[in-house]
């Protein structure tokens, strides 16, 4: 008995110590090696989700642009950025989920087998990642101003310094030009991991040029000469039809649906109605896109809720059923926007060909076509004196600014950037605030105040104060 027991105990102890000690600390459920394409997939989706989302925790640009307003819980429409840490969530997603994975993807590109992924392919892949990098950093700059750039994305330096916003733009132009040069349209890129163009490098080249056009125009008020060079170089290679739009195509099943569907349909909530700002403006112009953008109100017409006030959901028009489609594509840049940029370029005296009027009309027609208005409706719309370029109210800034803002519906971020650039349309002012209180930038994340204090303090001082009313470097008009 005793011996049996001893033997049992001994054996148990012996086997208990079998597995190699050092192997215990290995994660058996997660990979230590992945292909760069897998990281590229996640960064594309994260970027597109971030820009498309209407979630009040992360993207309230549709409110800032006054396309939508809120019904009962109106804090965000009243520019309360702090309670939900909105700037922080936007910043974090961009750096952690988008940029760091792009960087890791780029780090892994050279590790691929050269016989399956020849130099030209690797170069193309790198160019794709570079273009998205430029897009993401330009978006950060357009939101905050100075942000960490040269010292960013390096975990060995947990106190990254903030770079001057104009300087970041300069650096981004260099990277964009290099990416354009590097692209070999006859070689493969990321193939099926390319969720924008399915590996078609020509699409990326057009994307890069269109982005360059947009960014060049963004600095036109602060550095016209540089803008002119950039815009003129980019213009010939930009999007030339809606078929070339840079769009992220969502899928019908969660979690790969358009985030708009999640918040408008899946959530079952009634948080948003159309803002009176845009509905009033479009009604005044008899815009045929009104029923394409919005649903009918309680009386069968189209009215928006009073911006930033408490609004009864049933009373007002809501975002249209087009926006409730889970597979609705997320647009990063489209044909209408490019033609508006070209219109502006001509208005500024840049040599990009065509007339202001022609580009302006083409832009509006592109938007009409995209949203499903007929050619006849577009013709009638453009024929109105209030719309026709020659007779519409105001200078080119007001004419282009107003129409571009309407065309950028459902692209809240771009709407907000262009409103700041053109200073049109005139937005509504929430009760108790003044026009000057409407945010023209985001405050830095609270985390930066606690985790990167010295650099935050310097960054805040150099943009001119960490408040929402500080204008960004290009917002000088």
């Amino acid at each position: 008995m005793k011996k049996i027991l001893m033997l049992l105990l001994t054996t148990t102890l012996f086997f208990a110590c079998q597995k190699d000690f050092g192997d215990l600390n290995v994660d058996t459920k997660k990979p230590t090696v992945v292909e760069p394409g897998a990281l590229f997939v996640s960064s594309q989706k994260e970027l597109s989700d971030l820009m498309a989302s209407p979630n009040v925790n992360i993207n309230i640009f549709r409110l800032l642009s006054q396309y939508w307003t809120e019904t009962t819980y109106t804090d965000e429409a009243n520019y309360d950025l702090a309670t939900r840490n909105i700037p922080q969530n936007f910043w974090n997603t961009m750096y952690v989920s988008v940029l760091n994975n792009l960087k890791e993807s780029q780090r892994l590109i050279p590790s691929q087998n050269i016989s399956f992924f020849p130099a030209a392919v690797q170069k193309n892949q790198n160019a794709c990642a570079e273009i998205l990098n430029v897009y993401a950093f330009a978006t950060l700059v357009n939101t905050f101003g100075n942000v960490p750039y040269t010292e960013a994305l390096d975990i060995s330096n947990v106190y990254p310094a903030y770079d001057d916003a104009a300087g970041i733009y300069d650096a981004l132009f260099v990277r964009l030009d290099k990416a354009i040069t590097d692209i070999d349209v006859n070689s493969e890129g990321f193939g099926s991991n390319d969720l924008f163009f399915g590996g078609d490098m020509n699409g990326w080249k057009i994307f890069a040029n269109s982005l360059k056009l947009r960014m060049g125009m963004t600095i036109a008020d602060v550095n016209a000469a540089k803008a002119k060079t950039i815009v003129e170089a980019a213009a010939p290679g930009t999007i030339s039809s809606n078929a070339e739009n840079v769009a992220f195509v969502y899928l019908s099943a969660p979690p790969n649906t358009n985030p708009v569907w999640e918040d408008l349909v899946q959530s079952g909530r009634q948080d948003f109605v159309a803002a009176n700002t845009i509905v009033d403006a479009m009604n005044a112009l008899n815009d045929p896109r009104v029923p394409l953008y919005f649903t009918v109100d309680a009386n069968g017409g189209y009215t928006g809720g009073i911006y930033a006030a408490s609004n009864n959901y049933a009373t007002y028009s809501k975002p249209s059923t087009t926006l409730e489609d889970p597979t609705l594509e997320g647009i990063l840049i489209d044909y209408a926007e490019v033609r508006f940029l070209l219109a502006e370029a001509v208005a500024r005296g840049f040599n990009v060909g065509g007339t202001v009027e022609a580009h302006y009309e083409a832009a509006i027609r592109a938007s009409m076509e995209y949203w499903g208005a007929s050619t006849a409706e577009a013709d009638a719309y453009l024929a109105q004196a209030s719309v026709a370029y020659a007779t519409a109210a105001g200078d080119w800034r007001q004419k282009i600014g107003t129409q571009k803002w309407i065309a950028l519906y459902n692209r809240g971020f771009d709407g907000w950037v262009e409103w700041r650039r053109f200073d049109y349309p005139i937005l509504n002012v929430p009760d108790g605030l003044t026009y000057g209180d409407i945010p023209v930038r985001y405050t830095y994340p609270i985390q930066e105040q606690t985790l990167n204090k010295e650099n935050y303090t310097r960054g805040a001082a150099s943009v001119g104060g960490d408040v929402v009313t500080t204008k960004l470097f290009w917002d000088v008009q």
Binding site: K3, T10, A16, K29, T83, S310
Partner: protein, 1069 residues
């Protein structure tokens, strides 16, 4: 190590020789003639050999051949030493008046006389834990041990936070270690990060609830590092040592049957009181002329009717008016008697409180035990059922314990224990800010015109989600809240946990001065949690399941040098040992994607869309430890203990994976030197210093990728936390000094301890600027200091044969300070809705609440000169509270008159702050009475300012003059979140509670008459949480939180306290 063990076992296997041992039995009685139950019988010169008298005052003890003196101790009696003669029967009469030599069980299950301990240890008897029959034995420790902070949550079967001497680890585990008969027991909870931070989910409780209270003989709490150093790393948070019953000594087989039941009701002071003057709505901006109602022609008579704004989950609407008829939610419920009818606009007769049911609990157990001179056995079965105050909630527990010990030869004893626990939960309460937590609904977002019993009737009639909260009368789908009965009956969770823990071991008397003990122990559980959301609910329908498998094995080998007299006055004893701990955890979480297809079929296969791959996690940890301890006792007044341990942990980088840590304890019994002073019966000073090393959590050294749901193709990303290949161990350094004294024939005594502990080089994921591309990075840095004082005191004002009164008091204050965070200034532990966060900030206590604050001028709140509303700070990083209490304490009074005993425990906490999201929102949505009161003019504050309404907020205008601007409160928000900073909703969480009340009657022997087979009957009545004597937190229990763990100080959707009364019958055969 492996080879060493093998060798030792082989040696043992061939060894084995006999030596005589005798069994001594007898009865111990007091000088009043009554037998003494639980008197300690020990063998002099043989620590660890001892027993206690049973219910009949009888004992049976194996006495080693080389020893011949018994030491009998009993609280309140003089210690006696009996020198054994030829007779093996020793009946002993004790003389009252002296208390000495209480034995306690210390680390690794070694029994020590309390007098010889040079560190702080406090003992609680098992009967003190079962008095009020709490289903979670951990809860019963509250208020009974100085410095042990027990914080329970009010959900049925919810987790309980157990912290000794403050939080030490920044992000790691701070819960005390539970050890049952020397075997560490996992006490983790599997609550999700969302659940812990108030974002919804269920509190599935903590695993120490698997311990059977009926099987507990006593609990010893070892508080400081010196007491626990032999347990290694994870004992740095202190140890709760549970000693189970060891089988009744005496003749034959004993049977104990316990049967009890209890009932509970909610404590009204911990639930919301509603204002009864205004109904549904957020203000005056709807469709009718008043602005309060929707205006629709419901009865098709051509004129518009008044309709409740059903989508609005607030009570900031129209004033009640019983003559006004309004189409409410039930007018659109075809099954309702009110279908198509307008009903009077009045406050609902049956508010949410009518949903609370009477909680019912039962507990039944049977324990069979017996012993011979060769060993003992015990076998117990306990079943408890608990039905909560929420509908469709129930937790059943089945617990089986078996334990036995047998002397195979004179020198070889084998022992084993196996415990099986099965817990079944159904309908645990939803928690957090979530549609499944009805308290969030009732305390924050509710219409006071909705009758909950009508909602119930509607659900029972239709089995459909007929909610009061329709998106619109023309769009009958739920918008923010489901019918509350639908929520409870359809969207419920179930869970099941099977757990086994136990051990198998032997002790071999190798020589007369050396024992060898070997033991293998296993703690294992398999757990499943299933959650459901039915088709038709506001959230997408869902079935999810979470499986969790935990296993820990310990292999111990312990050599014990028995006390040995080095010189005439100097005794020496020693231990050497080794321990291999191997723990593994594997989880898998899967859920349907985008809803379920067939209603009420809850299976993964019923997913609407293709399943997303389940999330798997697996980790393993092994720690190899060797240790040695030496003890010296000089002339019974000086005690010195020294220990050292070396651990090697698999979770650290290979080149840094072993570490050594020492401890030293010194005791000085100064009362030995003034025997002349009769007033001082005992006095001892203790000093000790110890270090404990701790390893990293598994999988924090090397980097991997996260795999996301595929988007056509594989999608992967970098994890948000950067691992660190250069980690080394973290370390706790603790110093402790104590003074124990007893006076006046032990009528009064106290134990005071001062301690200081620093936990340095902490391994934790430090938050970093997200511009690095990561959220955090594992580092070795930081220093958290805890200093404190603990006092335990007893007083026995009356002690006679018939009447006894005893007072036990425990009190402790801990001061916690974050000294260093490795360069950063603030570590955010959790961020919450409401813009508040719980933090560890340098120079502050661990657990500061940060958020935005009012603005102040000369100490007064500043009010806007235009709106009359408070101005708030621009930033949200202002310290607005601290979760740590100033002190905690408990007082137990025990009275005994003949066979009748009465005891009650008052449990207290002073200080500590709590943020309430319930008040934050509920004051905005107009639920509480203070939102419907009159202003200083005597007018309703909700009236327009122009009509004399509005509220004059206390404070000053920016120019410093007193505020004279009445703020408009026509629409929702003024008193709640929209117009006030987070600081306005931080409350003092102090409390004084009548925690336990217990009345017991022991049927005297003569009543039982000749029926000798019944050895005792005890009938008891008890109450738990009967009365919150004092609190400062309105409408809620200041103790309630979300989950056990490091994140405390936040309430959302808080459940009321349940006051429980019960009866209990205990029969011994």
């Amino acid at each position: 190590m492996k080879r060493l063990f093998t060798t030792i076992f082989m040696v043992l296997a061939v060894a084995g020789f006999a030596l005589a041992q005798r069994t001594v039995t007898g009865t111990i009685a007091g000088d009043d003639g009554d037998v003494l139950i639980g008197a300690s019988v020990a063998v002099k010169g043989a620590p660890g050999v001892g027993t206690r008298t049973d219910i009949n005052g009888q004992y049976s003890l194996k006495v080693p051949a080389e020893n011949n003196t018994l030491v009998i101790t009993y609280t309140g009696y003089q210690t006696q030493e009996i020198i054994l003669g030829i007779s093996n029967v020793q009946d002993i009469i004790m003389t009252s008046g002296q208390l000495l030599q209480e034995a306690v069980v210390t680390a690794l299950g070694i029994s020590r006389y309390k007098n010889e301990l040079a560190y702080s240890a406090q003992k609680v008897e098992g009967e003190e834990l079962t008095r009020t029959r709490d289903a979670n034995v951990v809860n019963s420790l509250a208020g009974k041990v100085a410095g042990l902070e027990i914080k329970r949550n009010n959900t049925l079967g919810g987790s309980t936070n157990v912290v000794l001497r403050g939080n030490k680890s920044l992000t790691g585990n701070n819960q005390a270690l539970f050890v049952v008969d020397g075997v560490p027991i996992d006490n983790s909870n599997s609550n999700t990060g969302n659940q812990r931070t108030g974002r919804g989910g269920y509190d599935y409780g903590n695993a120490a609830a698997d311990i059977n209270a009926d099987d507990v003989e006593s609990v010893t709490v070892l508080k400081g590092a010196a007491a626990t150093a032999l347990y290694g790393s994870r004992a740095s948070n202190g140890v709760v040592m549970i000693n189970t019953k060891k089988g009744r000594k005496g003749k034959g087989i004993g049977v104990t049957i316990n049967a009890g039941m209890n009932a509970g009701t909610y404590d009204k002071s911990t639930f919301i009181t509603y204002q009864d003057q205004y109904g549904a709505g957020y203000g005056q901006y709807y469709e009718d002329d008043s602005g309060y109602f929707l205006s629709r022609d419901i009865n098709e008579d051509g004129t518009a009717d008044l309709v409740t704004p059903t989508s609005e989950d607030a009570s900031y609407g129209a004033p009640f008016n019983s003559s006004q008829l309004v189409y409410q939610w039930d007018a659109f419920d075809p099954s309702s008697p009110n279908f198509g009818k307008a009903t009077p606009w009045v406050a609902a007769p049956n508010g949410p409180a009518s949903m609370f049911e009477t909680a019912l609990g039962t507990n039944n157990s049977i324990m069979i035990d017996g012993s011979t001179d060769k060993g003992y056995f015990k076998l117990g079965y306990t079943k408890t059922t608990d039905k909560g105050i929420m509908p469709n909630s129930r937790i059943d527990k089945d617990m089986v314990n078996f334990g036995a010990s047998y002397n195979l030869t004179e020198k070889l004893n084998v022992f084993s224990s196996i415990n099986f626990t099965s817990i079944d939960g159904r309908g645990r309460y939803g928690s957090g800010y979530d549609s499944k937590n009805l308290m969030t609904n009732y305390r924050q977002w509710w219409q006071t015109n909705v009758d909950v019993q009508d909602q119930r009737a509607s659900y029972e009639r239709t089995q459909q989600n007929v909610t009061w909260n329709w998106a619109d009368p023309s769009d009958l789908k739920p918008i923010y809240w489901d019918n509350p009965y639908w929520t409870r009956e359809e969207n419920f969770s179930t869970d099941h946990r099977n757990r086994y823990f136990g051990y198998l071991g032997f002790t071999y008397n190798l020589t007369s001065w050396f024992d060898l003990t070997g033991r293998v122990s296993i703690d294992q559980f398999d757990e499943i949690q299933e959650e459901r959301i039915a088709v038709g609910s506001i959230d997408p329908s869902l079935y999810s399941r979470f499986n969790r498998n935990f296993q820990e094995k310990n292999f111990d080998l312990l050599g014990q040098f028995k006390p040995f007299e080095l010189t005439e006055n100097l005794k020496f004893d020693a231990l050497i040992g080794g321990n291999i701990r191997r723990a593994s955890l594997a989880t898998i979480r899967a859920s349907t994607n985008g809803g379920i297809s067939i209603p009420r079929l809850y299976s993964l296969g019923n997913s609407k869309n293709a399943l997303i791959a389940p999330t798997e996690f697996a980790s393993e940890l092994q720690v190899n430890g060797i240790f040695a301890k030496a003890g010296f006792v000089y002339d019974s007044w000086a005690i010195l203990d020294l220990s050292v341990r070396r651990d090697q942990a698999s979770s650290l980088p290979e080149e840094n994976n072993s570490y050594v840590y020492p401890s030293a304890s010194l005791g000085f019994v100064f009362s030995e030197f003034f025997n002349a002073n009769k007033n001082v019966t005992f006095g001892k000073i203790r000093l000790n210093y110890a270090e404990v090393g701790n390893a990293a959590p598994p999988l924090s050294v090397s980097d991997v990728y996260d795999v996301n749901a595929p988007f056509g193709n594989l999608s992967a990303s970098l994890p948000v936390t950067k691992n660190n290949p250069d980690l080394k161990e973290e370390r706790t350094k603790g110093f402790e000094a104590g003074l124990e004294m007893r006076f006046l024939s032990d009528k009064i005594g106290f134990d005071v301890t001062y301690y200081k502990q620093n936990t340095i080089d902490q391994i934790y994921p430090a938050s970093v600027s997200r511009a690095t591309g990561f959220s955090s990075k594992f580092i070795n840095a930081g220093d958290v200091e805890n200093t404190g004082v603990e006092v335990s005191l007893y007083f026995r004002p009356v002690h006679t044969r018939d009447f006894d009164w005893r007072v036990d008091l425990n009190w402790a204050r801990n001061r916690n300070k974050v000294i260093d965070l490795g360069g950063i200034q603030n570590l955010q532990l959790a961020s919450f809705q409401g813009g508040v966060s719980i933090n560890a900030a340098v120079g502050e206590p661990y657990g500061t609440i940060k958020g935005n604050d009012y603005r102040y001028l000369n100490g007064q709140r500043i009010v806007s000169a235009t709106t009359g509303r408070y101005l708030t700070s621009a930033t949200s990083d202002i310290i607005i509270g601290n979760v740590n209490p100033d002190w905690i304490g408990g007082v137990t009074n025990t009275f005994r008159y003949k066979n009748l005993s009465l005891s009650f425990l008052i449990d207290m906490k002073k200080g500590g702050d709590m943020f309430s999201l319930d008040m934050y929102y509920g004051l905005a949505t107009g639920l509480y009475p203070e939102t419907a009161s009159n202003n200083e003019l005597g007018n309703p504050l909700r009236d327009p300012v122009s009509a004399g309404g509005g509220l004059l907020l206390p404070g000053v205008k920016p120019d410093g003059t007193p505020n004279d601007i009445r703020a408009n409160a026509v629409n929702f928000g003024l008193q709640g979140y929209a117009r006030n900073p987070a600081a306005g909703f931080v409350y003092d969480a102090s409390f004084v509670k009548l925690r336990e009340l217990n009345l017991n009657f022991d049927l005297p022997g003569k009543v039982l008459g000749d029926k000798k087979y019944v050895k005792g009957i005890t009938i008891g009545a008890y109450g738990r949480n009967l009365w919150i004597i004092h609190k400062n937190m309105p409408y809620a229990d200041p103790e309630d939180g979300l989950s056990s763990g490091n994140v405390q100080g936040y309430q959302v959707g808080s459940y009321p306290t349940v006051r429980t009364v019960g009866v209990n019958l205990n029969v011994k055969f």
